[in-house]
Symmetry: C2
Subunit: 133 residues, 2 copies
C-alpha cells in the first residue's frame, strides 16, 4: 500500500508518517519506480504501536527506545517498567499542578462580577498584585 492508505488505516496523518521515518521510528520503505513509498502490514503494525504509545503521551524518543528494546527480546524489561513508572509520576504531578491552578483561577474569577468596567475589574487588580508563592 502507499502512504495515503497507510495513513487512513493507521489513523496517522501522511505527514506524521514521513516525520516518523525521518526521526528513525520506522525504517525507510521500498519505493515504486515513480519514487512512491510502498508499505506492508508490518509497517502498519509498527505505526499502530507508535500511535498507542503517543496516545499515552510517550515522547517519540521514548517510543524509539521501546522499539529498540523489542529488537533485543531477551534482556530484562526493567527499562520498560521504569519508563512507565516515570510517566505515571509525571502525570500525577501535572494533575496536581493543574488542580492548584484551577483553584487559583476560580478564586480569581470570583473577584469580578459580570457587568463592571475594566477599571473596577477585580481580576485585573488581582493580577497586578499577586506575589509568587
Amino acid at each position: 500500500m502507499k502512504i495515503g492508505e497507510l495513513a487512513k488505516r493507521s489513523g496517522c496523518s501522511v505527514q506524521a508518517i514521513r516525520h516518523y521515518e525521518k526521526e528513525g521510528l520506522i525504517s525507510p520503505p521500498n519505493r515504486t519506480e515513480g519514487n512512491f513509498r510502498v508499505y506492508n502490514s508490518d509497517a502498519l503494525e509498527k505505526l499502530i504501536f507508535i500511535k498507542n504509545c503517543r496516545g499515552l503521551d510517550l515522547a517519540l524518543d521514548e517510543i524509539k527506545q521501546l522499539i529498540s528494546l523489542q529488537f533485543s527480546p531477551s534482556i530484562p524489561c526493567e527499562a520498560v517498567n521504569e519508563m512507565v513508572d516515570m510517566h505515571l509520576y509525571a502525570i500525577k504531578s501535572r494533575i496536581a499542578d493543574l488542580q492548584k491552578l484551577h483553584d487559583t483561577l476560580k478564586q480569581l474569577r470570583l473577584k469580578c462580577g459580570s457587568a463592571r468596567s475594566v477599571e473596577q475589574c477585580g481580576i485585573l487588580a488581582e493580577l497586578s498584585s499577586i506575589t509568587d508563592s
Copy 2:
C-alpha cells in the same frame, strides 16, 4: 535599572524579557549611550503582571489582550471574565484527560512484573494491540 536587575527583581529571565519586548508585551525602553536597555519601576510592575498571568498558564497573546484592555479602562470587563472562564474549562478538561491517561497507564503497568525479559513483557505486548477508543 538594567535588564539584569530587572530580571532578578521580576523573576523573569533576561532572554524572556527581551522576548516579551519583541512580542510587543512591553514597550521598548530607553537605552544608554552604550545601547543598554534602561527600565523604571513601571516596567517592573508590568513584568510582574505578565509573570502572574503566565503562572496561570495564560498565553502571551491573551496577556497582550489583557494589557490592551487596561488601557481602555471604561469598557466593560466581560472579556476578562470570558477569558478566565474559558481557561477554567480548558484546565478542567485537561485534568480529566490526564486522569484517564493515568488510569490507562496504571492498568498497563500491572501487565508486567519486574524481572521478566522483554520478550515476555506484558506492557509491550499490550502496546502492540490496544485499539483506539
